[in-house]
């Protein structure tokens, strides 16, 4: 156990003990008052607890004072017992806040800190609400609303002041020119957005895989015809460009007999090896799941599925375009290479996508 952990544990124990002591003390101090809450009502003054009485009186005095200019007298019916209740709740709040401070300085874990501050704030809030409900006037008043809109004369006068300079020479021209200046300023400011990024066109249509690129795994190992058994997959990148996001592809090996690739792609799957872009054409997540039985690639984000055997067209879910394919071939050493770039632009669609 590390030092900090031991310190935290010690802090937790001290907190539990502090809480218990506070609880016991609070119970001791208030038990008589609480017992009287239900019975005595209007007068809960207890000669045996002068200190508490003083606090209570000060509170009620203060409140009366704050009402003197207000809308009505405080409710006297349950007054004193309510004051005690509020005082108790406020004391609880203070105790919890102190517990928070102790916990914080002791390095207690966050649940203790949060629990203490939650109790402190919650108790303070509850105290305020009880105070308002039990001890303050909530007299309902009714007042007239202001009429809408303003009287016609006021509106007329305002309009007259606003257009006072109507007679000035060439007013229209100058106003129009001011608007023109404002417009050019806005255009200048908005055009600064150009600095925020290079034009997207070239970036989005840049070639990714080059003819002859060898396939490597995430760890940088070359992929050859012995790398996979039928029914398994691995993530691949072009050699020397591991981690390039839009180049990532998933290499799948399937039973050659099952292949149903379009005629033009018949030679793209040496010994049942297929490589498709791993960036979903729907929302750009990594198409990282493979269902070997159905030969389906699945995207974990929105569950689009793509049929590996026939060139990865979408077979379910929200994707509309096939995963682009790499034209694979095996070189003389048996290493897998691509005969060119992806069959289409990989990744999510956009306006200018060819």
């Amino acid at each position: 156990m590390s030092d900090t952990a031991r310190q935290r544990e010690r802090g937790d124990w001290i907190l539990v003990l502090t809480g218990a002591v506070f609880g016991w003390a609070a119970r001791k101090v208030f038990s008589r008052h609480i017992a009287k809450l239900s019975g005595a009502g209007s007068d809960a003054r207890d000669p045996d607890a002068p200190e508490m009485g003083a606090v209570r009186d000060a509170q009620s005095e203060e409140m009366r004072e704050s009402y003197s200019g207000g809308s009505g007298p405080a409710k006297e019916v349950s007054g004193n017992s309510a004051v005690i209740l509020v005082v108790c709740v406020f004391l609880l709040s203070i105790a919890a806040a102190i517990a928070f401070l102790v916990a914080y300085w002791m390095g207690a874990r966050h649940a203790f800190l949060g629990g203490a501050i939650a109790l402190s704030m919650g108790a303070f809030g509850a105290g305020l609400v009880i105070w308002a409900h039990a001890l303050m006037s909530d007299e309902q008043v009714s007042e007239e609303r202001e009429l809408l809109p303003s009287p016609a004369r006021e509106r007329e006068e305002a309009a007259e002041v606003f257009v006072a300079e109507r007679a000035a020479p060439r007013r229209k021209v100058l106003v129009a020119m001011s608007l023109g200046v404002a417009g050019t300023f806005v255009a200048a400011v908005v055009s600064l957005l150009r600095s925020f990024a290079e034009p997207p066109g070239p970036v989005l249509s840049a070639p990714i895989w080059r003819r002859g690129d060898r396939l490597v795994t995430t760890e940088g190992r070359l992929v050859n015809l012995q790398t996979l058994r039928p029914g398994s997959t691995v993530s691949v990148f072009p050699e020397n460009r591991v981690g390039q996001v839009n180049a990532q592809a998933v290499l799948v090996r399937v039973d050659e007999q099952l292949l149903r690739l379009p005629k033009a792609r018949a030679a793209w799957a040496p010994q049942g090896y297929l490589a498709y872009s791993r960036v979903c054409t729907h929302a750009g997540c990594s198409v990282g799941l493979y269902e070997a039985e159905m030969c389906l690639l699945q995207c974990p984000c929105h569950q689009s599925t793509f049929d590996v055997l026939s060139g990865a067209p979408p077979t379910g879910g929200p994707a509309a375009r096939a995963l682009p394919q790499l034209p694979l071939y095996a070189d003389a050493d048996g290493n897998l290479r691509t005969g060119g770039d992806f069959s289409e632009t990989p990744g999510p669609g956009f306006w200018g996508l060819r």
Binding site: Y67, F124, Q140, G284, Q303, A320, P348, L353, R354
Partner: protein
């Protein structure tokens, strides 16, 4: 002493009369009027906790090997943003608490806004003269959702990376300007070194400033126009019935504020939220199954999942499938919401009256039925956003659940509308008899 300070100020600003008027401002009491207050106080807490977090967060995308107190990730390549969040969560006293409180406060903030919006809608509080506040309120909702998304997207974990890739793809799909839009916001094709700093600037400064400004305006307008009243004896469009701000209403409202903060602190203390160390650092080649956005984006996620894989080819141009559920649908939804008060007025006979007494939901069966249907529609979408999780826990296939939901998303709102309409009519008749 307070009196002395007041007199010092009054001698300089002539405030006594304004002050008295403010204290005597009349507020009607009703539980449903507290929803907006909850949103306000959550925002205040978000600012307070956010300032604390900003003192530790490093909005950097540079990759670095992690060597900190969380041993499970020792030596793993992470962004400096992610490293600073782990440091904050594991090494800074109260850091994790404040971080979790911030996240919980954000969830509560948006929830309170949505409930407040529902209250406004179902009681017809958006009618003249309160249309401006309806528009501002909707804008606040949009900003809150956007800022929530930016907030959990800058952390540099795998969940935020996944969300960002989806957001980028969605922006990219906008016809004509999409690629430029996505590049301007995120600095290029994600991941870019600029994306975290940009979203950070939006998250901690630009959007909060907009939120605070609009929130101030929202309050200023409601203060000027005064609150609505629920219908009842003595309640007319010309009068306002309620209790005075000082002291009772102020104490209750402040009490609500602290109770709310207490609840959020308790959530931050005891209920784990966004444990980014479990998701791991962002890595574009990694896969996160069962990824879920924060709740307020669940309906968008559901729309993305339920919409069929259909795109539009216009000659050599393409409108991708994700444009329809990801851009067009929310745009139409919010355009409709923004224009609702004006559409409704267009159908009503001409009057230039100011409405200050609310309608009970059953008094407007059509609107109520419509609102309930819209709510259920979004609810079905929300569940569709977790269809893979539902499938995994219930043992059904995602395909089966999705086809059910595709049907339900139309059937459930229609059924709800009919039932809601019927209930409204029944309640109306009962009320008429008694």
């Amino acid at each position: 002493m307070i009196r002395g300070a007041g007199e010092w100020l009054d001698a300089r600003l002539h405030l006594a009369k304004t002050f008295r008027r403010a204290l005597n401002h009349v507020f009607p009491d009703h539980w449903s009027f507290m929803l907006g207050e909850i949103a306000l106080y959550s925002f205040v807490l978000l600012v307070i906790t956010g300032i604390f977090l900003a003192m530790f967060f490093d909005p950097g995308s540079a990759q670095t090997a992690y060597h900190g107190s969380y041993k499970a990730l020792d030596g793993v390549q992470v962004s400096t943003a992610y490293r600073s969040v782990l440091h904050l969560s594991f090494d800074v006293p109260a850091g994790l608490l404040i971080r979790q409180m911030h996240h919980w406060a954000a969830l509560v903030f948006v929830a309170a806004i949505v409930l407040h919006l529902g209250r406004i809608f179902f009681t017809a509080a958006y009618r003249r003269p309160r249309e401006i506040n309806w528009l501002i309120g909707l804008t606040l909702l949009l900003l809150a959702i956007g800022n929530g998304f930016f907030g959990y997207s800058i952390v540099g974990d795998l969940l935020s990376g996944t969300g960002l890739r989806i957001a980028y793809s969605t922006l990219l799909s906008v016809p004509l300007i999409g690629p430029r839009l996505a590049f301007i916001l995120l600095g290029g094709r994600v991941p870019t070194p600029e994306m975290i700093p940009r979203m950070y600037a939006l998250h901690i400064f630009i959007i909060p400033a907009a939120l605070a400004t609009l929130l101030g305006l929202h309050l200023l307008i409601i203060w000027r126009q005064k609150h609505t009243n629920y219908p009842g004896p003595g309640r007319t469009d010309r009068t306002l019935v309620g209790s005075r701000l000082w002291p009772s209403y102020a104490a209750k409202s402040l009490g609500l504020c602290f109770i709310l903060w207490g609840v959020i602190a308790a959530l931050g203390a005891f209920v784990q939220i966004n444990p980014v160390w479990i998701y791991g650092p962002d890595n574009p080649a990694a896969v996160l199954t069962g990824a879920q956005p924060d709740w307020y984006l669940g309906w968008m996620e559901g729309a993305l999942r339920l919409f069929p894989g259909v795109h539009l080819r216009l000659g050599s141009r393409l409108i991708p499938e994700i444009f329809f559920p990801g851009i067009l649908f929310p745009a139409l939804l919010f355009t409709f919401l923004y224009s609702y008060p004006f559409i409704e007025r267009w159908f009503l006979p001409q009057d230039t009256q100011a409405y200050n007494v609310l309608k009970m939901p059953y008094e407007r069966p059509f609107s109520t039925a419509f609102g309930c249907a819209a709510f259920v529609f979004l609810l079905v979408l929300f569940f569709a956003g977790s269809d893979d999780v539902i499938a995994a826990t219930s043992g059904n296939s995602v395909v089966a659940i999705r086809s059910t939901l595709r049907m339900l998303v139309f059937v459930a709102p229609a059924t709800t509308a009919v039932i809601a309409y019927a209930i409204c009519v029944i309640v109306q008749r009962r009320r008429a008899k008694s």
